[in-house]
Amino acid sequence: MTHIGYLVAGWSIGLGVLGAYALSILIRGRKLSSQVLPKRRRWMTSDGD
């Protein structure tokens, strides 16, 4: 396979960034969930605020 170094670098940076970002969202979500009452965590409802 030609350009193997470029391929590994490109794909690992791409997937690495995506993985790290997804993980950071999940962690942020968990942290914030504990600060919000369960009844205010019902998703996708708009209270017209």
């Binding site: 391929l7 940076i13 791409g14 997937l15 969930s33 369960p38 965590r41 998703w43 605020d49």
Partner: protein
């Protein structure tokens, strides 16, 4: 996993729901499939010219299966941010503001991946990390910076309604600026190295097109998963900020009534807090 004793109900202590959990696993499986197709199923890019020399990108083409889908979905994300911002200014519902914010953040991530994989791909194929004369490259970089600015603006504490409204205006101006930047860069150098749209290329190999299609499908799922979770994080952080404010107010009220005794109890909050200020 930390169990929260305060919530014995079925509402989870995170941003997942059964649907997003399934979506998440399907996306992960899709990414694995994309890697297999990109590296092992799709052929290298090479063709013979009339005089018999073999030209092409060879295996570097495999980088495009992450570069092109992330570029497309970066532009999708920013379009949704622009659209969400317009709807926010019209309807003024918190829902659309969260959508615009979430989509912009995902767009910046996708756009960053597009730029990085593009730079890495450009080195072997164009023989340069960066090409100033390429319109799409320079436009995408400026788009990236404009939305980095948008996110920086949103990260600064501000009065919530003013922040949402001004951020919407910034997003719309930023999105409007893209065609202007695109035209100006094109006139500036008036040459482009960028590949013509590969989908329109009739000589494209079947597996190449298939792999690209898998890339688009997987990135669509990934975008959806990220958008739903990021939206919920935005929702929660607003709720948490309000809960924190209510708690602080309650503490302050309790402090005021305990320090000034029975004479203040029953009087208005304004009087209670001014009596605290007078004492301190």
């Amino acid at each position: 996993m930390a169990e929260n004793t305060n919530s014995p109900t079925s509402i989870p202590d995170n941003t997942s729901s059964p649907t997003t959990r399934i979506l998440g696993w399907v996306t992960l499986a899709g990414l694995a499939l994309l890697v297999i197709f990109a590296f092992f199923v799709s052929p290298e890019d090479s063709r013979q010219t009339a005089d018999g020399t073999i030209i092409g990108q060879f295996d570097a083409v495999r980088l495009l299966y992450i570069h092109v889908p992330s570029a497309v979905f970066a532009y999708v994300s920013f379009s949704i941010t622009g659209l969400g911002s317009i709807i926010y200014l019209w309807r003024r519902t918190r829902w659309w503001d969260h959508v615009a914010h979430a989509s912009a953040e995902i767009g910046v991530i996708f756009c960053g991946i597009t730029l990085l994989t593009g730079i890495i791909w450009g080195r072997p194929v164009w023989n340069t990390w960066w090409e100033w004369g390429d319109v799409r490259l320079v436009t995408t970089l400026l788009l990236f910076l404009i939305f980095v600015g948008y996110l920086a603006f949103r990260a600064v504490p501000n009065e919530p309604h003013r922040q949402a409204r001004n951020a919407s205006i910034l997003a719309i101006v930023g999105a409007l600026n893209i065609p202007v930047v695109n035209r100006s860069v094109e006139w500036w150098e008036n040459r482009t190295l960028h590949q013509r749209s590969t989908l329109a290329d009739l000589k494209i190999e079947d597996e190449t097109l298939l792999t690209l299609m898998i890339g688009f499908a997987v990135f669509a799922l990934l975008f959806l998963w990220l958008l739903v979770h990021r939206f919920r994080v935005a929702w929660l952080s607003k709720e948490a900020a309000e809960a924190g404010l209510e708690q602080a107010l309650a503490e302050r009220r309790a402090e005021a009534s305990s320090s000034s005794g029975a004479e203040v109890s029953g009087s208005s909050r304004a009087e209670a807090s001014s009596s605290v200020e007078a004492r301190s």
